[in-house]
Amino acid sequence: MVRATLLEEVLDQEGILKIDEDVRATVAKGQDAARAAAFPAAERAFQDALSGGDLWPR
């Protein structure tokens, strides 16, 4: 896709590198936020294994 974008002159190399940089920055921001967050308690970490409610025993 990068090659096609360059050949079709949709973006130049600088534009492509800017997108790449933006994606890296977004991922790094997300990782920093996740690492800074409190680690969930074990009982909360697995609450999505089943949908919950009272249909089944706990």
Binding site: F46, Q47, D48, A49, L50, S51, D54, L55, W56, P57, R58
Partner: protein, 319 residues
């Protein structure tokens, strides 16, 4: 309330699920009493009722995909042995999708199959994978032992957003009992089907009528047996079972599945761990011996968790 067979009760629940919710679809064969007279496909259309090719992995995976896109499939594998061919979509996709998506996705599929020894069915058509499935986090496993449970657990399974394995047994299909149909899904818990004071027998699936017959004949000797239909075998109803053991102080757990790491073993382990002080004697397990199911009906009877073996276990807890 109406008197009906186990098979009719189960099929009525399937019929109600398909009637009430256009998202409900059916893969595989279900028929007999309680099903629409001309069959499910005629009643609900071939768009919703599929008779798939003999490719369990393909149609189980299709059902998982359909569930992820908003449908609520009921999938019948027929004999439990065939379910091994669908292991990947059941235990590695359906069971885990909710957890892996942080609760954003659900896979509301009801997987159904038959287990239990059948004379002449032999090793490759008599597999009993219920305990293996209890080892798959994210799955609910139910195993009704009465017509009432057959109806109620199918209603609960088809109403649940969780993937549910419905363990059926052909030996139960002619059992008769009172069933209230046309009711909403109810929370599924272990149920006392015969009260007693001396020994609790927690029975799974086809072991429920066997345990009831043993309880009846021991009553003549003054031995009072409480029979509990386990109904949900994963997650097990620990509190319900412990309440019964608290009343009787003795436990026999019985399942028509393999003994080692089996459902009966899990019940005994749970009570031993959480209710050790309630027990007056060592708990007992009655299950299928750890050998392949034989072709010979004589050998088949020798490995089965028979009424005689249940009675022997009950007497052992009373010594």
């Amino acid at each position: 309330m109406a008197q009906m067979s186990f098979l009719e009760a189960r099929n009525r629940a399937v019929t109600e699920a398909l009637s009430e919710d256009p998202r409900a679809i059916l893969f595989g064969g279900m028929s007999g009493a309680g099903a629409p007279e001309a069959g499910y496909a005629e009643a609900f259309g071939r768009g919703r009722v599929r008779n798939p090719p003999v490719s369990e992995e393909a149609y189980a995976a299709a059902a998982v995909g359909a569930a992820l896109n908003g449908l609520r499939p009921i999938v019948s594998f027929s004999t439990g042995s065939f379910m091994f061919n669908a292991w990947e979509p059941v235990v590695n996709e359906a069971a885990l999708m909710r957890y892996m998506s942080g609760g954003q996705m659900s896979v509301p599929v009801t997987f159904h199959f038959y287990v239990g020894l059948r004379p002449g069915a032999a090793a490759q058509h008599s597999q009993m994978p219920q305990a293996m499935l209890c080892n798959a986090p994210g799955l609910v496993v139910v195993a009704p032992g009465t017509p009432k449970a057959a109806y109620e657990l199918m209603r609960t399974a088809t109403a649940s957003d969780d993937p549910v394995v419905y363990v059926d047994c052909l030996k139960l299909h002619r059992e008769e009992g009172e069933v209230e149909t046309g009711v909403d899904a109810r929370p599924a818990r272990a149920e006392v089907v015969r009260p007693g004071t001396d020994v609790t027998v927690v029975a799974v699936s086809a072991q429920v009528p066997r345990a009831l017959r043993v309880a009846e004949r021991l009553q003549a000797e003054g031995i009072s047996v409480e029979v509990v239909d386990a109904r949900v075998i994963s997650p097990i109803d620990r509190d319900g079972i412990l309440k019964s053991v608290a009343r009787t102080g003795r436990l026999v757990a019985t399942d028509e599945g393999q003994l080692t790491c089996g459902v009966a073993s899990e019940i005994v382990a749970t009570v031993s761990e959480h209710g050790h002080d309630l027990l007056k004697s060592a708990p007992r397990r009655v299950a299928v011996l750890d050998v392949p199911a034989p072709m010979s009906p004589t050998l088949d009877a020798a490995i089965a968790p028979s009424e005689d073996r249940i009675e022997e276990a009950i007497r052992a807890t009373l010594k």
